[in-house]
Symmetry: C2
Subunit: 200 residues, 2 copies
Amino acid sequence: MSLDATPLGRRERNKRDKLERITAAAGELFAARGVDDVTTQEVADRADIGTGTLFLYARTKGELLLLVQNSMYAEAIDRGRADAAGIDDVGAAVLAVVRPVVECNRKQIDNGRTYLREIVFGDPEEPHHRDALALTAQTEEVVAEVIARASGVDPEVARARARIVSAVMFLTMAASINVHLSVDEVVEEIAGQLRTLLAA
Amino acid sequence: MSLDATPLGRRERNKRDKLERITAAAGELFAARGVDDVTTQEVADRADIGTGTLFLYARTKGELLLLVQNSMYAEAIDRGRADAAGIDDVGAAVLAVVRPVVECNRKQIDNGRTYLREIVFGDPEEPHHRDALALTAQTEEVVAEVIARASGVDPEVARARARIVSAVMFLTMAASINVHLSVDEVVEEIAGQLRTLLAA
DNA sequence: TCTCATAACTGAGCTTGATCAGTATTTGTT
DNA sequence: AACAAATACTGATCAAGCTCAGTTATGAGA
């Protein structure tokens, strides 16, 4: 009766179930109380699996956070791409991509900052980490396209500038000094830093 | 018999001694084996103090690393400032500031990356962290001066660009993807990213 | 010198992320 | 169905950063 193209064996089905339970459990707990105030034991209990099993699905607590946040981040990118489509001014168009990412990142600030920390300092070999890196690469690509279109520069130059936009976004969202800033203020801070770069 | 201007009481002298022993112990152990492979217990033992005492002088292991690396970083900045003084080309001058910092940071790559991580994600209220932030501010200032002098732009613009240089430096040194790069390669990578920015 | 308040020190013990030897489940084969 | 091999699961246990109640050292006042 399965509508799926590849009929999965019981083993694969169980694994998929467990991963879903883990993602749900971690997502709920992290969202409610922040990564740092949730123990891996709690996540395992809520997902109804053994402690050790949890670490088969995410090798570290950081990887677990990446697993949870990646899908949100993916949605933010899509939103940004759509929002930027109709804007002609380079600065405004880039900020249209930036804003949803900042919003997503600040939904729960501790989780957001820890997410960034994991992306940069975590193990790039881990599967959820690879996904996260792919998403940042995608963000950069979107920014590069927007810059190329709206400012008419060479695609190569656009890509270089997109990289810088990435770096500025990252540090502005991550820096301890900015923890008290609202989404608007973070976006404005990024805008200020990018003004020189994009006014070309 | 003290030649010091302010004759310290025994209490203050003891504290100074301990801090020195801690700095020396941590510095030697971290340099030899990297932060992650040294336990705080080992540092305490080598400094000949109790476990708890260590945490009176550095509230976390990360703070301990900041304490150890700050002085090296300060030297790197001085070297960079001196090296850049005689260079007229903006790109080359900025890279002259960048290179010693990268060298210093890569002397022991794990320590260098953890140092960066602590600066961005650590507690900015902690004393050693404040020192580290002051050093990064100083770096940015030096870069801004160099840009203003060599490229003749408005000081305000120079400062904005210096900030971007900082961000690019940070991410290039910190990123997991670049762990295998040599000092030269890191500098070259940074140079590539900054080319668009500084060619103005 | 004796006493007391303050500051500094200490290490046993707690918390928690992560491991791994042992157990259970699934799948393929005869 | 019976068996074996492969894969997945488990929780007692470990390691290490950090805490805190109890102890010791210091310096000021009598």
